[in-house]
Amino acid sequence: MAHDRVPQTGDVVLDVRGLSVDIATPAGALHAVRDVSFQVRRGETLCIVGESGCGKSMTSLALMSLLPRAATRRVGTLALLGEDLATATRRRINALRGDRMAMIFQEPMTALNPAYTIGDQLMEPLRHHRGATPMQARKRAIELLGKVGIAAAGERLGQYPHQLSGGLRQRVMIAMALMCAPELLIADEPSTALDVTIQAQILRLLADLQQELGIAMMLITHDLGVVARIAHRVAVMYAGEIVEEGTAEELFASPRHPYTQGLLSCIPVPGRTAPGGQLGTIAGTVPSLIGEVHGCGFRERCPHAQPQCAQTVPQHHVAQHAWRCILEALPA
C-alpha cells in the first residue's frame, strides 16, 4: 500500500487512556468499549476501523461527551490539548465543543436543522463561540463553503437544507465543523450515507482539508479502502478493544493481529487476487459483550487460538506498532 502523505506529527491534541463505555441493557451491562487508549497528534489522521457494533461510534461519542443516557463512560485520562475533559464542567465542555473539537455526523440528511437556512446554521458556531458579528461570520461562512468546493456560496447561504443534495449537505456539515478552526475533527463514517462517487469526493476533501489546515483528524469507518486512502495511523477495533494500532504502511504491509489479517484477506487486491478465486472470510460471529468479558475477544473465531487466550492477553510493541495477542508474530 503506497502512501504518499508523510505525517508531520506534532503535539498531542487528543490523549485518551483507559476509556471504557458500558451500556445498561435489561440483560446486564454491555461493555461496548473496553479499556481503549490512543493519541491523536496535530497534522495526523487516525482511522478507527472495525465492523458494526465494535464500539467505534461509542468511542467517538464518548470523546465528545455525547453518549446516550443509558451509557456510562469511565476514563483514566481524556485530555484535549492538555486540558482534562473527564472532570470538566458541562459549561466548559460546551465551550470546547464546536470550538476546539468538532464532529461530522454520518447522516447528512438529518444532521442539518430543516428550520434554518444553511447560512444561519453555518454562522451559528462562530457567533456563539467567538462572538463574531453577522458580517464576520458571513465572510467566514462564504470562505469555508468555497473551501469545501461549493460554488455560488453567497446564494447557498440563503437556502434551506432540503434544497441541497446529500453530498452538498455533507460539505456544508464539514464547513460548519471547521468554522471555529478546531484542533480536533472527529468524523463518524462521514461518507457511509452517500453514494460511491460522492463518497470519494468527500473523503478526498477531508484528506485535503486535514493536510491544508494541519489539524488532527479522527475518522471512524468500517471501510478499509477509505483507511488506505487517507489514514496516517490506523487503530483496529474488535469487540470494544483496540486489537492493533500502527502506521497505515506497517499495518497494511504486515498485520500482526489475526483479526486484522483476516480483515485484509477479505479485500480483493488487483494483481494479487486471482479472477474467480475465493476471498478470505472470518468464520463465526462477534461475541456478546454483555456481562463479564475477559481474555481475547477474537479467540472463538481465531485460527491460532490457544487455551491461554481466555486469560489476560499481553500487548506487544515494535516501534510505533502495537497489538494485543498471545503470539508475537503470526505463523506464516
Binding site: 455525547l66 459549561r91 464546536g98 436543522n113 463561540h129 473551501k147 468546493g149 455560488a152 460548519m176
Partner: protein, 298 residues
C-alpha cells in the same frame, strides 16, 4: 486546495423560488379560513364603530323585532332585536370580542403550560416523562366541562374566571402532542450536531427543537382555541360562564331558547356566527400547518 467537482451549470436555477405571498395564495384553506378569521377579528376590534346601537341599551317598545328579511323587519335593526329590545347586530359584533378573547387567551395559557411540559418530557425522558405522563393522565381523567362547572359554581362566573379555568384545564393535548413531536426531533442528528457544536440545553430546546415542532403547536393551538370558544358557549348557555348582560354568543343562545319556536332566528344567528368562527379557525390552522412545514419552504 484541489478544486472539487461541481455539477455543471448553476444548480441554483433549478430550484424555483416563489414568494411567500404566492405560497399563501396557493393554499386555499389559509386564504378562506384566514380571510374569514381576519374579517371576524376586524369586526371584533371595530365593534364600537360598526354597531348601529349600544348593545346594552334596552328598548321595550322594540321587543323581538325580526331581522330585515322578514316582512316585519326594518333597516333600523338589521338583525332584529332580542326580547329586551336590544339591537341583535350590535350584540353579535360585541359578542365576537368575547369569543375571540376567550379562544386566544385560553390557547396561550394552556399552550404555554402544555408545551413546556411536553417538551421537557420529550427531551429529557426518564423521570420528567413519567411525571408529565402522570399529570396528563390525571388531567384526562377529569372531564373539562364538569371541573369547569364545579369551579365556576364555587367561585362564581365571570369572563376572567372562565378564561383561567379553561386555560388551566386544556393543556393536555398540547402536552401529549409536543411530547411525541419533541421525542421525534430529539433523536435526529441535528440535535446531536448542535450539542457537538457546543449549544446548551436551553438553546437546543428553544433554538433547535421548538422551530421544528412549531407546526404541530399551531395546529393544536387552533383546535384548542376553537374548542375553548365552544366550551365558553356551553358554559354560558348553562348559565355558569360569562354573566349577563355581556353579549356572549353562548349566552345569546341561552337567552333565546325560550323563544325557539316563535323566533327561530334568535338562536340561528349567534349559532351560525359560532359555527362560522369555529370553521374559520380550524380551516386556517389546517392550512397553516401545511404552510409552515419546513419541507414546504422554497
Amino acid at each position: 486546495m484541489a478544486a472539487l467537482a461541481q455539477p455543471a451549470g448553476s444548480p441554483l436555477q433549478l430550484i424555483p423560488t416563489r414568494s411567500v405571498w404566492q405560497r399563501i395564495w396557493r393554499n386555499k384553506a389559509v386564504v378562506v379560513g384566514g380571510g374569514l378569521l381576519l374579517l371576524m377579528v376586524l369586526v371584533a376590534l371595530l365593534a364600537p364603530w360598526l354597531s348601529p346601537h349600544d348593545p346594552y341599551a334596552q328598548d321595550l317598545a322594540q321587543r323581538t323585532v325580526p331581522p330585515v328579511w322578514y316582512s316585519a323587519g326594518s333597516w333600523l335593526h338589521p338583525l332584529g332585536t332580542d326580547p329586551l329590545g336590544r339591537d341583535y347586530l350590535s350584540r353579535l359584533l360585541f359578542g365576537a370580542r368575547i369569543s375571540l378573547l376567550i379562544g386566544v387567551s385560553v390557547a396561550i395559557i394552556s399552550g404555554l403550560i402544555g408545551t413546556t411540559m411536553g417538551m421537557l418530557a420529550g427531551y429529557f425522558g426518564g423521570k420528567a416523562d413519567l411525571v408529565v405522563s402522570f399529570l396528563v393522565t390525571t388531567r384526562l381523567s377529569m372531564p373539562v366541562i364538569l371541573v369547569a362547572l364545579a369551579t365556576v359554581a364555587l367561585i362564581g362566573g365571570s369572563l376572567w374566571v372562565v378564561i383561567l379555568v379553561l386555560g388551566l384545564l386544556k393543556w393536555d393535548r398540547f402536552a401529549v402532542v409536543m411530547r411525541s413531536a419533541t421525542q421525534q426531533v430529539r433523536s435526529l442528528d441535528y440535535v446531536a450536531a448542535a450539542q457537538s457544536a457546543g449549544a446548551s440545553t436551553t438553546r437546543i430546546l428553544l433554538g433547535e427543537v421548538l422551530p421544528n415542532v412549531l407546526p404541530h403547536l399551531i395546529v393544536v393551538a387552533t383546535l384548542e382555541a376553537a374548542s375553548a370558544i365552544l366550551l365558553e358557549a356551553a358554559l354560558s348557555f348553562l348559565g355558569l360562564g360569562v354573566q349577563p348582560p355581556l353579549p356572549s354568543w353562548g349566552l345569546m343562545i341561552s337567552e333565546a331558547k325560550a323563544y325557539m319556536f316563535f323566533s327561530f332566528w334568535l338562536i340561528a344567528i349567534p349559532g351560525s356566527a359560532l359555527a362560522v368562527l369555529i370553521f374559520a379557525i380550524n380551516l386556517a390552522g389546517d392550512g397553516l400547518r401545511d404552510l409552515l412545514a419546513p419541507e414546504g419552504r422554497a
